[in-house]
């Protein structure tokens, strides 16, 4: 008889924590979306990874997931508390968009192609590529004004970053949203199909 109230209390405890975590995860509070691990720890307590895991399970039914992006880039097998605190947590789509749904994200098909080519090209150049080289590549298939407009747009939105020497890099949003390994594999396979 004593167990039931204790388990109810536990459920209420986690339900409350989940609500707070959802507010932090979904609503943009800084210039970047998502929330840092240390912010979650401060708001939810030291067991925040458990709360995040519960939210992730819940979001699975909605085709969403909590994506953890570690500072080190590649996710460690067993992340330490420090690594989790420094990581950033985002809510992303678990599955993928169908070609018909592309308009939902407010981008034209050629805008998406420019983003895809930019990311693939930078990956192939070991994470950094001169902007001019990428522009030359894109201009072979796209009008120059669209290339320039899109590269600037993707820099502003955090997919790419540019340094003072005109070198382009992959930025935080690419790390959060794009499965780079899958992109390369699909491009490799696509040669057979084309």
């Amino acid at each position: 008889m004593e167990r039931k109230p204790r388990s109810l209390k536990r459920k209420t405890y986690y339900a409350m924590k989940m609500k707070r975590a959802v507010h932090l995860l979904f609503y943009k509070r800084h210039s970047k979306p998502g929330v840092k691990g240390w912010e979650l720890r401060r708001a939810l307590g030291p067991d925040y990874p458990k709360v995040i895991s519960l939210i992730d399970d819940y979001l699975e039914k909605l085709d969403l997931k909590v994506n953890t992006i570690f500072e080190e880039g590649t996710p460690p097998e067993k992340p330490t508390r420090e690594q989790l605190d420094k990581a950033r947590f985002y809510v992303t789509l678990r599955g993928s968009l169908t070609p018909k749904e592309e308009k939902l994200v407010g981008l034209r098909i050629d805008d998406i192609a420019i983003l895809a080519i930019s990311i693939a090209y930078i990956i192939s150049k070991r994470g950094k590529a001169p902007r001019k080289d990428l522009e030359d590549l894109l201009r072979k298939k796209m009008p120059g004004w669209r290339v320039d407009l899109n590269i600037n747009r993707y820099i502003r939105s955090g997919y790419l970053s540019e340094d003072e020497n005109g070198q382009l890099y992959l930025d935080w949003r690419t790390r959060a949203e794009v499965d780079q390994k899958a992109l390369i594999n699909l491009l490799l396979e696509s040669e057979v199909l084309s």
């Binding site: 990956i123 794009v178 084309s194």
Partner: protein, 272 residues
């Protein structure tokens, strides 16, 4: 060959090495195109000739650039060993062959866009309405300052202090004394509510304290602890000032409204 001519030739060689190494890094070329051993031999050959500091600096710079190339070579090998490696030529070829639509469709399969909301809350609407009501029309806010003609007279130091043209003590001394006050106020607890620290008997003094406190934080004498959900802000002094360059966290501006209404509310809560 005269020593002068040899030195001149050596300098040219060092500059060439520096340019070569930099171009490999900037253009993303294969770092193994650089024959490191050959470059080190050239540096060794000319090293005994260097007497001037400038030449030695050039020598060190060339060596440093070679070290960067060695580092790039190590990264290159690591990258080739990962599953992400693909020959740049191969991918460029693929990007040429494939139609833009096909590339976009591939991308849609691996793209998981972020979900983020930007929504205004009832509280924010309330605050914004209050702000709008208290905002004076532009023609009143931008009114030209009327000049009152007065007879010439000598201003005393006291007058200048009253008009806030001169400070009673130097700015840094004011900051130091505010910092001491903060350290004294937090006691063993280590932190104090922001409003409890900046709040004073008059609104004018409160604004002045908030202004000085912002410098305490910017100059690394103290830090803020912000609890957005609880809507609480604490200020925490450091034992020693931490220079901006040594701060581990990324610096960010955090606006805090010091409106008259908030000051009145704080005073009421204080029981004044």
């Amino acid at each position: 060959m005269s020593i002068k001519k040899r030195r001149s030739l050596g300098r040219e060689e060092l500059k060439r090495i520096i340019d070569l190494c930099r171009s490999v890094d900037i253009k993303g070329l294969n770092p193994f195109l650089v024959d490191v051993e050959d470059l080190v031999t050239i540096i060794k050959e000319y090293f005994p000739d260097w007497k001037e500091t400038w030449d030695l600096c050039l020598d060190a710079e060339a060596l440093n650039e070679i070290a960067s190339v060695v580092n790039l070579q190590s990264e290159w090998v690591k990258h080739r060993a990962t599953s992400l490696y693909m020959d740049p030529f191969l991918i460029e070829e693929k990007l040429h062959i494939l139609k833009a639509e096909n590339i976009a469709q591939i991308f849609l399969k691996i793209w998981h866009p972020l979900i983020e909301f930007e929504q205004i809350s009832i509280h924010s609407i309330g605050e914004a309405t209050k702000y709008w009501k208290s905002l004076l029309p532009l023609d009143e806010r931008w009114q030209e300052t009327s000049i009152v003609e007065r007879e010439l007279e000598r201003a005393t130091r006291k007058d200048l202090i009253e008009q806030k043209i001169l400070a009673e003590e130097s700015f840094s001394a004011e900051l130091e004394s505010l910092w001491e006050e903060l350290k004294h106020k937090v006691g063993n607890y280590g932190k104090v509510r922001y409003w409890d620290f900046i709040g004073a008997d008059t609104y004018q003094e409160t604004v002045m304290r908030a202004y000085l406190t912002s410098f305490l934080i910017t100059y690394g004498y103290a830090t803020l602890e912000i609890y957005p959900l609880e809507e609480e802000i604490f200020i925490k002094p450091f034992e020693k000032p931490i220079p901006i360059q040594k701060m581990k966290q990324q610096l960010a501006s955090f606006p805090i409204s010091i409106s008259l209404e908030e000051w009145v509310r704080w005073r009421e809560n204080q029981g004044a």
